[in-house]
């Protein structure tokens, strides 16, 4: 069946970016086009998701070449869900950016890069070809390099150098993995790879190949001991950018890990142990980092690391329950992490700093807004019944089933640390009165002078994402059903393979 | 003069079309025939230069080839024998060539000949600075270039 629908989320962003490039120096037009493009992308993503949810996996054989000869695009529930969440984040960030990002940045390609980045993410989620995935990853990383350096402040450049070096190294690992994969199977189509790798006698080579992907994607998703770039860089770019990074970039690494390690490399004992151990250290490392930092975004950066461990741990346990938990966490995390960086940006707008010691009095001044933020923060912590709570049920249960007590303990420690850190943040930033600033520093409230419309452009995205988070939490049955469905598909990949290669292929 | 050249080309292409053999040798052959025909048919004094210049170009080319091989052999001999007997130096060479085209062509030719290399042209475009490998005598070298490349070149161009 010819079905171009599933590539629409990619096309929309591509054309939005091209149109934006034609309006290179017209910032008003750029804002309008960007928000419009994001909204259209969201509608298309919703449509794609409902189609896939109702009718099953959809594929598109690019250029009309049947798999495995051409590049196949596949929308299963997992990828269309990721596209959907990306679209939500996209709408929020693009709206936020309209006021939240300096005009100078808009004049130098902020919005086109933003849409190309989103395009890259959607492409990565939808592709069914391993080398094409590499291309998407490169789109994502070059866009993120540009995003990270846009503006060229010293801190940004410093962060960017480290970010760049480690991400290019990750790409090299990825590429090396592809080289070996092609060398042992002669194919690049992921469904085909699933069959061929499954049939391969030489498990040692399979494991070795898998290691390259673990390291490549592990760097991208900031897994211990490969995470160093993240705390080095995420506190430097504008918050809108950090929101995309925090919400989506590490997650695309997680997505790829999940895809690779459920479809192509079925984890054996070696890989499971490896993933679980990495997860434990990741959580602990993130925990330690988060509790000692004083800058909001640095805290959030380490929390990202910490929570990545939850998801990797879920993958490592590799039971349907564990995968469900990890996926639930992933969905929740995308929404919340995007939002908390937007919130950090808003705080910065309100006070001119993100140093918790220099902040205070927000609850007194903006009680309602503070409550919305509190909702998001407590979702992050996983206060029941908010969104972060549900995945833990699955993860805990999976941990007991697998007797992964160390991982369980780590998750508990990580959750506890998140709670502690967020409560501390709340107390310092919202409860505490605004402290006296040291000499020479003054409060800069860039929010107050804005008119109502521009204020709402900053606040609406936060409320929007908070509403989604709230929905995820309160209507947990829906999202749970999605996660369970995906987890089931991960354990039984034959529908995926049949959708791609046709019904006559027997695994 | 351009007219004759174009005419000659046209004749060469016609020849190729007629014979139906699309190859360089055939084209060159056609060009030669065309040249001959045009030369025979030429009755106009002012266009006469075309027919003297073509042989001169060929002559210059042969001279250049000879110089190149001679110098190459000289350098090669020096290289493969253990001891160097060269005497390098940088010589200031006052040109007769004036236009950019002339200067470029001259310096290309000089540079392409082994043993000599243009290092720079002075800002007022009067002087070439030439690096020479076998510099026995400055004036003799200058004279050699003047009588050799530069004269022949200018004859063709002017």
């Amino acid at each position: 069946m010819i079905d171009n629908t599933l590539i629409f989320p990619v096309i929309v962003h591509l054309f939005t970016a091209i149109v934006l490039l034609f309006f290179w120096r017209k910032t008003v037009a750029q804002r309008i086009i960007s928000i419009a493009g994001s909204l259209i992308a969201m509608l298309l993503a919703v449509r794609l998701f409902t189609m896939v949810w109702n009718d099953g996996i959809r594929t598109m054989q690019a250029a009309g070449w049947d798999a495995p000869f051409g590049i196949t695009f596949v929308a299963d529930v997992f990828s269309s869900m990721m596209v959907l969440l990306t679209a939500f984040s996209g709408v929020a960030v693009s709206t936020y950016s309209a006021t939240g990002v300096a005009r100078g940045r808009m004049l130098y390609g902020y919005f086109p890069i933003f849409h190309l980045l989103l395009m890259g993410l959607n492409g990565a989620f939808l592709t069914g070809d391993i080398f094409n995935l590499y291309v998407w990853f490169e789109v994502i990383i070059i866009a993120s390099f540009v995003f990270m350096t846009l503006g060229g402040r010293k801190a940004q450049i410093e962060g960017a150098v480290k970010y760049m070096a480690m991400n290019i190294l990750a790409s090299t690992f990825f590429l090396t993995g592809i080289a070996i994969l092609y060398g042992i199977t002669g194919t690049l189509n992921m469904a085909d790879l699933s069959l061929k790798i499954g049939a391969l006698e030489n498990r040692k080579l399979v494991d070795i190949t898998a290691i390259f992907f673990i390291i490549g994607f592990g760097i991208k998703s900031a897994v211990f001991p490969l995470y160093f770039w993240l705390p080095s860089s995420y506190h430097t770019p504008p918050s809108a950018v950090a929101a995309v990074f925090g919400g989506l970039l590490t997650k695309v690494g997680i997505y790829a890990l999940f895809r690779m390690f459920t479809l192509i490399f079925i984890p054996d004992d070696f890989l499971t142990t490896l993933l679980v151990v990495l997860a434990i250290f990741t959580i602990i490392t993130g925990t330690f980092g988060a509790v000692i930092k004083n800058n909001i975004r640095r805290v959030f950066s380490y929390l990202i690391v910490c929570h990545i461990g939850f998801m990797v741990g879920g993958l490592g346990m590799y039971s349907e329950i564990a995968l469900t938990g990890a996926l639930l966490y992933l969905f929740h995390d995308i929404m919340v992490k995007t939002n908390i960086f937007l919130i950090a940006g808003l705080i910065r707008k309100l006070r001119g700093t993100m140093n918790m010691d220099k902040l205070g009095g927000l609850y007194k001044e903006y009680p309602l807004l503070s409550l919305v933020i509190a909702l998001v923060l407590f979702s992050l912590v996983g206060v029941p019944p908010l969104s972060g709570f549900w995945p833990k049920i699955y993860l805990f249960e999976a941990g007991f089933i697998d007797a992964q007590y160390a991982l369980l303990a780590a998750i508990i420690v990580g959750s506890f640390a998140t709670l502690y850190v967020i409560a501390k943040l709340w107390a310092k930033v919202f409860w505490k009165d605004q402290p006296e600033l040291p000499d020479g520093e003054s409060l800069r409230d860039e929010f107050k002078p804005l008119n109502r419309f521009r204020k709402s452009l900053l606040v609406a995205p936060i409320v929007f994402l908070a509403a989604i988070t709230l929905y995820i939490g309160l209507a947990a049955e829906n999202i749970t059903a999605v996660a369970q469905h995906i987890a089931h598909e991960m354990k039984d990949v034959s529908p995926y393979i049949e959708a791609v290669l046709g019904p006559n292929v027997s695994p | 003069m351009v007219k004759q050249f174009l005419m000659n080309l046209l004749l060469a292409f016609t020849w190729v079309a007629l014979t139906g053999v699309l190859s360089y040798s055939n084209f060159l052959f056609g060009f030669a025939i065309g040249f001959f025909l045009l030369w025979v048919m030429n009755r106009n004094e002012s266009d006469h230069r075309y027919f003297t210049r073509v042989p001169k170009i060929i002559g210059f080319f042969l001279y250049f080839l000879y110089e190149m091989i001679r110098a190459n052999v000289q350098v090669a001999y020096d290289l493969i024998t253990p001891k160097f007997f060269m005497q390098p130096g940088i010589v200031k060479y006052p040109m007769n060539a004036k236009s950019d085209f002339e200067i470029n062509l001259l310096s290309t030719v000089i540079s392409l000949t082994p043993g000599t290399l243009i290092l720079d042209v002075s800002e007022d475009r009067k002087v070439l600075y030439i690096h020479v490998m076998y510099l026995k005598d400055k004036d003799q070298f200058i004279q050699q270039i003047k009588d050799g490349f530069e004269r022949r070149l200018l004859e063709i161009i002017r």
């Binding site: 250029a63 590049i71 940045r105 004049l107 480690m166 060398g183 290691i211 490969l226 833990k392 947990a476 | -």
Partner: protein, 769 residues
């Protein structure tokens, strides 16, 4: 029933838009909610008394087995009535207490939220649902303790409370999930059905550990008790409500609720007896040294909670009945004392018990309330406290072995201290001479003295006429715990027996102590000398140590040096790869079908290797660039030799462009400095060589693997026939795999935009983000 529980949430949300209307006189209206709920639950008393239990079911997250499953039985009802009843009084009291407070609406919102959460805890039949509400009580408590959020102490106390209860919460969650996993359901009713399996399971101990820690943190058991005195930073009505009467009893409730599931084994009994025992003694002992009224009450609350845990630990029918009674007794008198204290604080501005006396002359109704509550807490005959204490002794005496002696002794000592504390809090401020400075005090609004008085009177009433609460409430509550009927009605008078003797001793010694010992700052100072040994300080210093370690860990790992990060990544990769490469099976060397080698190929490879060496070792940047481009050109030749003209072209052009770029950027940079010492270089060489060797070995392994050429055959066969091109590589690039190319040029475009912006964009100082 769902609505009854959700009402609190809904109301608290309504405070956001409508709260400001409630700040003035209308504040009293806030108490309509708890009063209404109290009435609602009170209506169930007859049914429950008849042994019925009311269930409610509403699907929520069926795939997780988490639904709105509620069950109203004796235990739930007892707690529900406590929550709504004392809630009603506290709501009313607060209307006067916090009159004119700018954030009164917030206060009621939090309080309603809390009340709803607490009702959820006690009514839930599903452990995860219970846990959800449990955590909500922690959160609302966090907001309530930190209600005076401009005060640093308040914030700190709120953080500590949340830290302890939240941390315990996560463990509890693990325990509950483990229980649910083992019994196959999260429903408590169904768990009771499988309780034998649970108790016999290897993980039973772990379940108990996790559940106990959860309950202990919430109910302030030693050594997690220290957050509770800190929580007294909250406004007094909150202390009365959350931190004495209701929330802190959630842990006790949980233990009581799970008794039929997990209780009755040695693993259950001994830890609870030991921890409960320590807590009750520790709390009671500490309470007598406090001079702050709220401090006294806080420690005596800890002690009371200890007693409850202790009783549930003993787990005999008597002890459970005793627990049910004591829950009610304690709630009544402790709330009364707190509310009294609140008025004293409100009117005199101090809670220092050494400063207070004679207030009966100005606050007479409160003096009555205080006196009655103190009497009840002292367990004088004809008070409800008397019945409670009797039952405790009864329970301790009826245990097995040598325990009765020890336990009873423990209980007696505890009760002596508690009696002293009760008198100190309820009697001392009102007794004696009224100091001059307090003579101008007027009796506050009735809303502030009526509630404590009512509570205190109830305490006496239930004591004088135990039947009032027995069959209707307490017996069903105990029945629910023990899962069988208890046939021993509460009596005022058991005759002359050991219990009465013990009561007498307790009373005599307690009163003697009260008369002999005056509270003083000196005593407080003495007990505070032991602070460094207290759990609070031990845990605080543990926290500091962890914090220090976290700093060191993070600084060491994330030290700012890119090369160190990269080194670690590579070492990690090498170790993993080498481990898998060398484990299991030897490495085979290349098969027979190798292609021959020409001299020129060797020359090219040799040059490549030498160029790599040059690039690595050169001290001039430009030389390094030259060497790098030689590598590129060498690759280009290799591509030519091995049939890849397109690649060769591209490699060459790209390489040349890269050189140009490098030269453009580098020409002003000075030459390299040798920044690494010999050791570092050797180490790096070792790591790098190991990595290279591993890659090469893997390459050899892969070469052994036969290549499947189906796809490349397909391309070769169809490139011209179907895709109309003869250069198959190009056909792949623009057709078969055109998507790659499309987005590869997107990569280039982004890079160009990036370069442009990076070099041109200079933000103004005002453009922060």
């Amino acid at each position: 029933m769902l609505f009854a529980i959700l009402a609190g949430f809904i109301v608290s949300l309504l405070y956001i838009p409508f709260g400001r209307f409630l700040k003035g006189r209308l504040a009293v209206l806030a108490s309509l909610l708890p009063i209404g709920l109290f009435t609602y639950f009170a209506a169930f008393i007859p049914d429950i008394q008849d042994g019925a239990s009311i269930a409610f079911h509403q699907p929520w997250v069926p795939s997780l087995g988490i639904n709105f499953d509620f069950q109203l039985d004796g235990l739930s009802l007892l707690f529900s009535l406590l929550i709504t009843g004392i809630g009603s009084l506290v709501f009313l009291y607060a209307a006067a207490y916090l009159k004119g407070h700018p954030y009164l609406d917030r206060f009621y919102a939090y309080l309603s939220l809390f009340m709803a959460a607490m009702l959820g805890v006690v009514l839930a039949d599903n452990v995860l649902l219970l846990f959800i509400f449990w955590e909500l009580t922690s959160i609302s408590s966090f907001f309530l303790i930190g209600f005076n959020n401009d005060n640093a102490d308040s914030r700190k106390s709120a953080l500590v409370a949340l830290g302890v209860t939240g941390g315990g919460g996560f463990l509890l969650m693990a325990g509950l999930i483990l229980m649910g996993h083992l019994s196959g359901s999260y429903s408590i009713q169904e768990m009771i059905a499988t309780n034998e399996y649970l108790k016999g399971h290897a993980l039973y101990g772990l379940i108990l550990l996790l559940v106990f820690v959860g309950a202990f943190t919430k109910s302030a058991q030693f050594p997690f008790h220290f957050w509770l005195p800190g929580a007294m930073k909250a406004p007094t009505p909150i202390s009365a409500y959350l931190h004495s009467a209701t929330m802190v009893k959630a842990g006790v409730y949980l233990l009581a609720r799970l008794y039929p599931v997990l209780g009755g084994t040695d693993y259950w009994t001994y830890p609870l007896i030991i921890i409960g025992g320590i807590t009750m003694l520790y709390g009671a002992f500490h309470s007598i040294f406090r001079t702050d009224l709220k401090g006294i009450l806080a420690y005596s609350t800890i002690s009371a909670l200890g007693i409850l845990v202790f009783l549930i630990g003993i787990g005999t029918p008597q002890s459970l009945l005793a627990a049910a009674v004591f829950i009610l007794v304690h709630a009544l008198y402790k709330a009364a004392l707190f509310l009294t204290t609140g008025v004293i604080d409100h009117e005199t501005g101090t809670r220092d018990v050494t400063q207070l006396s004679g207030l009966r002359k100005v606050l007479f109704p409160l003096a009555i309330a205080g006196l009655l509550a103190a009497l009840s807490s002292a367990g004088l005959p004809f008070t409800f406290g008397f019945i409670g204490k009797d039952l405790v002794y009864e329970a301790t005496l009826h245990t097995d072995g040598i325990l009765p002696l020890v336990l009873t002794g423990l209980a007696v000592v505890t009760n002596i201290f508690l009696l002293y504390a009760g008198l100190l809090a309820g009697l001392k401020p009102f007794a004696g001479r009224l100091p001059e400075r307090y003579s101008a005090i007027h009796l506050p609004h009735a809303l502030m003295w009526a509630p404590p008085l009512l509570l205190a009177i109830l305490g006496i009433a239930f004591g004088a006429f135990p039947a009032l609460a027995d069959a209707s409430l307490l017996n069903p509550a105990a029945t629910a715990m023990i899962n069988e009927a208890i046939d021993s009605p509460l009596k005022i008078w058991h005759g002359f027996n050991t219990v009465l003797l013990l009561s007498g001793i307790t009373l005599a010694l307690g009163v003697a102590l009260y008369l002999a010992r005056k509270p003083s700052a000196h005593g407080l100072a003495w007990i505070e000398r032991f602070n460094p040994l207290s759990p609070k300080h031990l845990i605080a210093s543990l926290t500091r140590a962890v914090h220090r370690f976290a700093i060191r860990y993070t600084r060491t790992l994330h030290n700012g040096f890119l090369r160190v990060y990269l080194l670690r990544i590579i070492i990690f990769a090498v170790l993993l790869l080498a481990f898998r490469l060398f484990s299991g099976g030897a490495i085979r060397l290349i098969p027979d079908q190798l292609s021959p080698v020409g001299i020129y190929e060797i020359a090219v490879v040799g040059i490549l290797v030498a160029a790599i060496y040059l690039a690595v070792t050169s001290t001039s940047r430009l030389t390094a660039v030259v060497a790098t481009s030689v590598i590129g050109y060498g690759m280009c030749l290799l591509f030519v030799f091995y049939s890849a003209p397109d690649l060769a072209m591209t490699q060459f052009t790209i390489d040349t462009l890269t050189v140009v770029l490098f030269v453009l950027v580098l020409f002003r940079l000075p030459s390299f400095l040798n920044l690494a010492n010999r050791g570092t270089r050797i180490r790096d060489w070792l790591v790098a060589s190991a990595f290279g060797a591993v890659i090469a070995l893997i390459g050899i392994q892969v070469l052994n693997q036969p290549i499947d050429d189906t796809i490349s055959k397909f391309y070769g066969d169809n490139a011209y026939v179907l895709a109309k091109g003869k250069n198959v590589v190009n056909v792949i690039l623009v057709d078969f795999r055109g998507f790659d190319t499309m987005f590869e040029i997107v990569v280039l475009s982004i890079a160009a935009i990036g370069v442009f912006s990076l070099l041109k964009l200079r933000l103004k100082a005002s453009e922060k983000e």
